[in-house]
Amino acid sequence: MTDNRVNASAPAARVLQRLPLAALAAILVVLVVVPMGILLYASFVDVPPRPGSPPGDFTVDNYAALLSAGNRAAMLNTLVIGLGATLFALVLGCGLAWLAARTDVPFKSLVQTAGIMPLFLSSLVGALAWSLLGSPEQGYLNIVLRDLGLPDFVNVYSIPGLIFVSGVYYAPYSFLLVYSSLSLLNPELEEAAYVHGARFRHVLGGITFKLVTPAVLGAATLTLVFIMENFPIPQVLGSPEGIHTLPSQIYRLMATAPSQPNQASAAGAILLVITAVMVFVQRRVLATREFVTVTGKGFTPRPRELGRWRWPAFACAMLYVLAAVMLPLFALVQSAFRANPYTTGIAAMFRPESFETEVMAETLESEELQQSLLNSIAVGAGAAFAGGLLYLALAYYVHRTKEPGRRFLSYVAMWPAAVPALVIGLGFLWTWTRFPIIYGTLAILVLAFVGHLLPQGFQGISSSLIQVHPDLEESARVCGAGKIRTVWEILIPLVRTGVIATMLLIFILSMRELSVAIFLFTSDTQVLSISIYNAWEGGRLPPVAAMSLVYIAFLFVLTFVSRRWFGVTNRGV
């Protein structure tokens, strides 16, 4: 009897067992595979895959066009800027994370905040602010240098300039991923090394950062992909001087009339291949070692004493804040509150009669700002919650189960990182216009953002999950707890910092996102980043600066309040 019952329920059990995979796969197909499939299809035909268009003929001309001299230079620039800025961002992000999580640096919470502060500025706002600060003729820094009798050498309209600005604004990604890991790191191994006479630099390089290799490699991969895929920075700082990257070329192909989406798709496909290779290499490296650092054993973390380097280390962190936040804020305040856009010298920057509050007052009162801010909040919150749930479910399935399809899902989750946001927006436009219930509403933006930000979300939560040893959950199961209770009471509290940091990141990134929304907004669903971009395109710098300041203030408050709310305080020592 018993055997028969088991046999009868076996198919049903198998179906139930496959249900999570089917659900996750279906979501990924809708959010990732279909837009990506359209991208790849578009890159091999001669007609854009718009609804109602003929299927088009097969061609490789779109790829052949990418081999032209101009496009080869753009590809090279993309790699040079990507690698240079990733290295710079990793040094900044990992350095700050280590200081905040593992040392006795003064004002630790300030250093911790410094690591994520640039998130308050989107890369568009950062690039615009740095174009005011570091443009070769009349950049504020050059005006100051000239007035002081020094050579005016600053020029962000250059490859080093692009590397600098990209590195500065992508360092928080490294910080967030690495900080979370460092704060969970059991210091026993480090202490053992010190007991055996190891020097500080050997411990740092040979133990500390080796233990957080998954997070560092994850951060490196993501940062590299995001920088190579970034559009606003090369568009604002590179294009005017003829320094193009693949995304700025893609934008040109899309912004010219008539647009050339097939060639743009081919460029997107090339970036996809590059990312696929990087993700593969990253996985091969991680697969060879074990990186569990959180176990059932308790630990009392002890800070690394920096001695005479305490204050210089703090000064370095503040120098980063100066470059990433304070100077850009100064430039934006100058633009938002100055009557005259032309600046003759240092004195003119601070002359009281130069200032006016009219533009700021108009901006604050404008219905457009209020409406678009509300839209941004709604979309950000929607993407953070919907995305947070999806990313957690996905990461749990991949890292905590032995079910089939895990490797495939984790690969698919990384794909959107490679696709330029503009092309993802197009993919959604081509796919979703047939569904008017979704298309033209805020929901389409939430869906597009959840899909676009999947790599960040998945990677962020995965890094935390990988570090928690399954022993703890297995102990709970042995003691009689069910699967759901084990996840809710054991796993979630342990990875809470990582999950919340990720959701916060998704909220902020969604609020800042421009390129995905550019083909999907309507007058009712216009988000703040679109309002800023439109005003910039119209050359109206004072309102751009005023809106950016409101934007920054909002993101600052949001991040600060959220950290307190969820108890995301300094987990480091």
Partner: protein, 368 residues
């Protein structure tokens, strides 16, 4: 748990606020709607009482436009004030707008009732897709024939001029170029020139076409040799002129006027060798959801009243001969014929476009 509830409550409140804010709006009484129900301004009847009544029932009109943001906002504001109808839709640069129109129209879900864009060639693409329907506005007889499409499907809305603008702190006024022919010389003398890519839109292509026709390919090469700063929008270019980052640009009078009013040391000249002009066009979508409001919008835009708003608020030349003269920061611009307008021939605009833009990209190192 408590914090989760709080956040859920915050999100719900935010969502509700958003829904409330987006649900607001709708039609009301327009100031130009007469007691008879007609829409009329200064004796010019723009819409019959019957049409106006039907439009008011639709409450709103959805406009897809690539007019610059300032002009577009002023036009929408004046239209809403006159008619009581609400203007919805999308304002985006021409390339992006065109992509959306084609994608949405392909799936039969184009929300637009009216489309306003520059560039004949793009309107021709949409005409071939049977997107527009014929509509003769009440002011039709007053509009010169060259501003009407032969098939009656669309009108030219305005003519937009491209002028030479300069920053007097970056280049002394007496050295500032007075003609397009002087531009390469100014660049060669070390003054940074700024311009919009030829492939960026009607303004960029219009200037490239004009200079190539007037001076030959050699002109492009001499200008490219000065390594001009190439921007993707004339607005971004004007902003750099205001700060003195570039000395001379090919720009538009409204942006320069605004900078001047802010106190920037900028000015512009009507080039001695001709002012390149390009037209914006307007057409009514055949399958729009607000057909009556769309007719009112088109009628109003082409009326003396609508054309005067476009001219005085947007600084572009109206196509209605009796409309007000264009103004920039309160100052009237010279008469259309006195600025040596150079409107391109349609066959040149359409026929030379692809090959010459490809050449331009090569000469200026802006290859695809």
């Amino acid at each position: 748990m408590r914090s989760t509830r709080r956040l859920t409550a915050l999100t719900a409140t935010t969502m509700t606020l958003c829904l409330l804010s987006t649900a607001c709006g709708g039609g009301g009484d327009g100031e130009a709607v007469q007691k008879s129900g007609e829409l009329a301004v200064d004796g010019e009847v723009i819409a019959s009482a019957e049409l106006m009544n039907a439009a008011q029932e639709e409450k709103a009109v959805n406009v897809y436009t690539s007019l610059n943001e300032v002009s577009n906002d002023k036009v929408a504001e004046a239209f809403e004030k006159d008619t009581g109808l609400t203007v919805e839709g999308i304002r985006a640069p021409t390339g992006r707008l065109m992509e959306r129109i084609q994608s949405e129209a392909g799936s039969g879900a184009l929300p637009a009732d009216v489309i306003t864009m520059p560039d004949d060639s793009l309107f021709q693409i949409l005409v071939k897709k049977n997107l527009f329907t014929k509509h003769a506005v009440p002011a039709d007889k007053a509009i010169p024939e060259e501003y009407k499409s032969p098939d009656g499907l669309y009108y030219a809305l305005i003519s937009s001029p491209t002028v030479i603008a300069y920053n007097s702190k970056a280049i002394p006024t007496d050295q500032a170029p007075k003609a397009w022919a002087d531009l390469p010389k100014a660049g060669a003398a070390g003054h940074k020139i700024g311009m919009v890519h030829a492939s960026q839109g009607a303004g960029g292509w219009g200037l490239a076409l004009f200079t190539r026709k007037k001076f030959g390919k050699d002109y492009w090469q001499r200008l490219a040799a000065t390594k001009p700063r190439l921007e993707s929008s004339v607005g971004a270019l004007a902003e750099k002129l205001g700060r003195g980052e570039v000395a001379v640009i090919a720009g538009r009078p409204p942006e320069i006027g605004e900078l001047k009013e802010q106190g920037a040391p900028v000015d512009f000249v009507w080039p001695e060798d001709g002012t390149p002009m390009f037209n914006f066009f307007i057409g009514r979508v055949a399958k729009g959801k607000h057909p009556n409001a769309a007719q009112v919008y088109l009628n109003w835009s082409m009326s003396k009243r609508g054309q005067s708003v476009l001219a005085t608020e947007g600084g572009d030349y109206p196509v209605h001969p009796q409309a007000a003269k264009p103004r920039v920061q309160g100052k009237e611009l010279p008469a259309f014929d006195s600025v040596r307008p150079a409107l391109p021939k349609t066959e040149d605009w359409l026929g030379l476009r692809n090959s010459w833009i490809a050449e331009w990209n090569t000469v200026f190192g802006y290859r695809s």
